[in-house]
């Protein structure tokens, strides 16, 4: 963008020592070593946290919105039926405990005494209302998440039973996402579509004000069901899409925190003495999407050649300032369903890539079209990939544009480009990732085709409730997608946040979307 930024990158290279990278690879554990506050301690009550938020939400109604950047803001106002463990994303009880008495029945037992911000009780009727709305309202974007649900029955004042069409053990994780964010039925009935901008949930803070592209304000919900929480009296989200500007606002003390910053800003955070840097692994997977329904990527050898030609370690260093984990599959090594047996399948091997291309009939290499975005970080990634694949004789012809433009050209009806360099933002349950990205007819599977074996495995991944059994199925799915080279994962981008010294107790999570429940102002 400017001279300033180039020097920042150069400085980043110089100051980034191997030790730093190793420390950062350690992720959450290492953040403690970097001098971060112990989050487990009780926080001080009071104060308003000012946060630089990277995007204007698509909606403040969880059912009608759709952007992945909404969650951090939604979670302040909405509690979910199910929550997850920060480090591994294993589901754990939220406002409800769940059980599967048989594979096609899920029972939700709701915690007593929860009230929405408007005083409406958060009981079985409210949960039924929400789940019915989520799976049938014409404005609901979460219908597919609940497609396995056949009926929602109230079986007690605080008990809801879901009858399922087919076994679906991804539901707990699904209910930790949008589908499990409970909104006040009273509010929906009274306001209809206007709930997009006047949300009422049961979360730790309640809504005050939202000015598009400017600010969102939430304030403490005094009747919050968790005793002693929240610590903060309120949160003010100042919407600043330009990352460098967001960071400057924290350096200048106008905001207390900026999150989801690009790696290139790491040296800037380090230089600002008053700031704390938080970095930890996320599910955010930078990858090459492939349209393998047509030539030349319908040829497995070409896809494998691409995977062999990529040098993921170099990519992390060159494109992410070392703030990432080389990706061998669509899940990072810290995830509960990671399959280490397939991790070594594609070591960087340019000769092997060339040989595979020759076997596929491209002795002199080949040209592939690729779509990419035009922001600074995407361009930098594209250049690294172009160089790496070029060494194996794969010449990339880049088209760049906005995210809306390029991703629609690749995924929607036009089917432009053989490849797309983009990212998969991750989902609470891995079966969502594979169903949305690789299954037959899935939108993020540009070619829409899938091997029946893979589709069968994806369904199977939702049968058992036992995580170790599910992990076995996911191991097979990963083996299938990696062996067949259905995508070329490059790197899991680490979350990078800048915090002012008075912010205590912040704890990053594997989803990479900050929650503010543990934060207090010292």
């Amino acid at each position: 963008m400017t001279k300033i930024d180039t020097t920042e990158i150069e400085m980043g290279k110089r100051t980034l020592h191997r030790r730093d990278i190793l420390a950062l690879m350690g992720g959450v554990a290492a953040t403690g070593a970097l001098g971060l506050p112990a989050w487990a301690q009780e926080g001080k009550k009071g104060g308003v946290l000012k946060v630089a938020a990277p995007a204007n939400p698509s909606s403040l109604d969880p059912a009608t919105g759709g952007a992945g950047s909404d969650h951090s803001i939604l979670w302040t106002m909405y509690d979910t039926l199910v929550e997850w463990d920060y480090e591994t994303l294993k589901p754990k009880p939220g406002m409800a405990k769940w059980a599967f008495p048989d594979p096609k029945t899920m029972v939700l037992d709701i915690t007593t005494g929860i009230k929405f911000h408007d005083g409406t009780p958060m009981d079985a009727e409210a949960v039924k209302f929400n789940l019915e709305r989520n799976r049938s309202d014409q404005r609901s974007n979460v219908k597919p998440d609940l497609s396995s649900v056949e009926a929602v029955e109230v079986t007690g004042p605080l008990q809801v039973t879901l009858k399922l069409k087919n076994p679906d053990t991804a539901l707990p994780a699904i209910l930790s996402d949008r589908a499990g964010m409970m909104v006040s039925p009273t509010n929906i009935k009274a306001l209809g579509n206007e709930t997009d901008r006047k949300p009422v949930g049961a979360g730790p803070w309640k809504f005050v004000r939202w000015n598009d592209n400017e600010i969102i304000v939430v304030t403490r919900h005094d009747q919050y069901w968790r005793q002693g929480r929240p610590y903060l009296d309120g949160i003010e989200f100042n919407i600043i899409p330009e990352n460098a500007t967001a960071l400057r606002s924290v350096v200048a003390g106008q905001n207390d925190m900026a999150f989801q910053l690009p790696a290139r800003l790491k040296p800037v955070i380090e230089r600002a003495k008053s700031l704390e840097l938080v970095s930890s692994p996320t599910l955010y997977c930078i990858q090459l999407y492939m349209n393998y329904a047509r030539a030349p990527l319908d040829n497995i050898k070409v896809r494998q050649a691409i995977n062999f030609a990529l040098d993921r370690d170099a990519f992390v260093k060159a494109a992410l300032n070392g703030l990432g984990e080389p990706a061998r599959m669509t899940l990072p090594s810290s995830h509960w369903a990671f399959n280490k047996d397939v991790a070594g399948m594609y070591p960087t091997n340019v000769e092997k890539a060339k040989a595979l291309l020759a076997e596929a009939g491209f002795k002199d290499g080949l040209e592939l079209t690729i779509g990419g975005y035009m922001d600074q970080d995407s361009v930098r990634r594209g250049e690294v990939i172009q160089d790496q694949l070029g060494k194996a004789g794969i010449r990339l012809k880049f088209s760049r544009g906005t995210i809306a433009e390029i991703s629609a050209q690749f995924f929607a009806t036009e089917k432009k480009f053989d490849l797309l360099v983009s990212a998969w933002t991750g989902r609470p349950d891995p079966s969502m990732t594979y169903a949305l990205g690789f299954d037959k007819g899935a939108y993020y599977n540009a070619g829409r085709t899938a091997d029946p074996e893979l589709s069968k495995l994806i369904q199977e991944s939702r049968v058992s409730e036992d995580l170790s059994k599910r992990a076995e199925v996911f191991a097979k799915i990963q083996k299938f997608t990696v062996e067949n080279a259905l995508s070329a994962p490059l790197a899991f981008q680490f979350e990078l946040d800048a915090l002012s010294a008075k912010v205590k107790g912040f704890k990053p999570n594997l989803l990479g979307k900050p929650k503010f429940e543990n934060i207090s102002l010292g």
Binding site: S58, N193, N213, N238, A404
Partner: protein
């Protein structure tokens, strides 16, 4: 000041504004529809499916014919309803009412700064052409044109906000709510925006003033024994005022456009951010609303300029 010929100008200009507004919003609408990308995909969100996208097109009327979509927007706009953002559901008029004052404040302040610094510099250079002052002013002017305003903005923030802590680095405050805070937020962006303007005002003023001051008429005035200051103020500047007005009005139009970048650097929730976000997401009611407002402002500015022309120089009447 408002005689019949001027009223006629105003009436005619307002009539001319109608086709300008219609044409410009039509072109922008066409461009938004022509370029690839679809607001339905954005609306469908992260879990999009082909079926859901089709449903949303139906739900929001995005599958209707092009002219019908534009027509229904225009019909509503003509009745004072600028629709709502397809994505966030905020009324476009509400967004504009909130964003426009921020943008106008910066532009007005930048314009004022450009004249406040540019005019004395131009006069100083013109009264002693070829001197070191002239050289110095022209060097500053060239630099002012060459330096990109977003880069200057970042330097200003680095120095005045981060180092000295004198002024806020980002954001904006409403002038009504807190005039002092509002101005302190607007100073740095206005200066960044004004840099090119200062240069332009100084250069243009210098060249036209040099031309006037070396004319035969001024030589006569010298011969009559008028002091140089009287010649400069009463005869020189009066003669260049029309040129200066042209420069300033063009500058105002250009600054309105240039705020897009400056607003991003300073995180000002103004019209620039509104249109960029709208265009990125193909949220056409927002883009249309901003274009509509901007066209109205530019038309008004031009009208004002024309009226001022005839005030400054009575020979210009039609």
């Amino acid at each position: 000041m408002l005689n019949s010929s001027r009223l006629r100008i105003i009436g005619r200009r307002l009539l001319q504004a109608i086709p300008v507004v219609v044409l410009s919003t039509f072109i922008v609408f066409g461009l938004l529809k022509l370029v690839p990308g679809d607001v339905a995909v954005t609306l469908a969100g992260d879990n999009a499916s082909d079926q859901r996208i089709a449903e949303i097109r139906e739900l929001y009327g995005l599958n209707q014919p092009f002219f019908l979509q534009y027509g229904s927007w225009l019909w509503k706009a003509a009745h004072g309803d600028l629709s709502s953002s397809l994505i966030s559901n905020e009324a476009v008029l509400t967004s504009i009412q909130r964003c426009l004052p921020h943008t106008l404040l910066i532009v007005a302040l930048a314009l004022f700064t450009a004249m406040l610094i540019g005019i004395p510099l131009g006069i100083a250079a013109a009264t002693k052409p070829g001197s070191w002052i002239d050289g110095f002013v022209m060097a500053i002017a060239s630099l002012g044109v060459a330096v990109p305003n977003f880069w200057l903005g970042m330097l200003l923030v680095a120095f005045f906000s981060l180092q000295l802590n004198w002024l806020p680095a980002t954001g904006a405050v409403s002038l009504m709510k807190d005039p002092w805070a509002s101005l302190s937020h607007a100073i740095l962006p206005a200066v960044a925006l004004a840099s090119g303007g200062i240069a332009e005002v100084a250069r243009q003023l210098r060249s036209s003033l040099v031309e006037i001051l070396s004319s035969q008429q001024v030589r006569t005035l010298h011969a009559k024994g008028l002091p140089p200051s009287a010649i400069l103020w009463r005869h020189g500047l009066k003669n260049v005022s029309v040129n200066l007005l042209t420069v300033v009005s063009l500058l105002a139009n250009r600054m309105l456009a240039a705020t897009v970048v400056v607003e991003a650097v300073f995180a000002i929730p103004g019209m620039g951010g509104l249109i960029v976000n709208g265009a990125m997401n193909r949220d056409f009611p927002v883009v249309q609303g901003v274009v509509f407002t901007m066209v109205l402002i530019v038309v008004t500015l031009n009208l004002l300029t024309d009226i001022l022309y005839s005030v400054l120089d009575p020979r210009i009447s039609s």
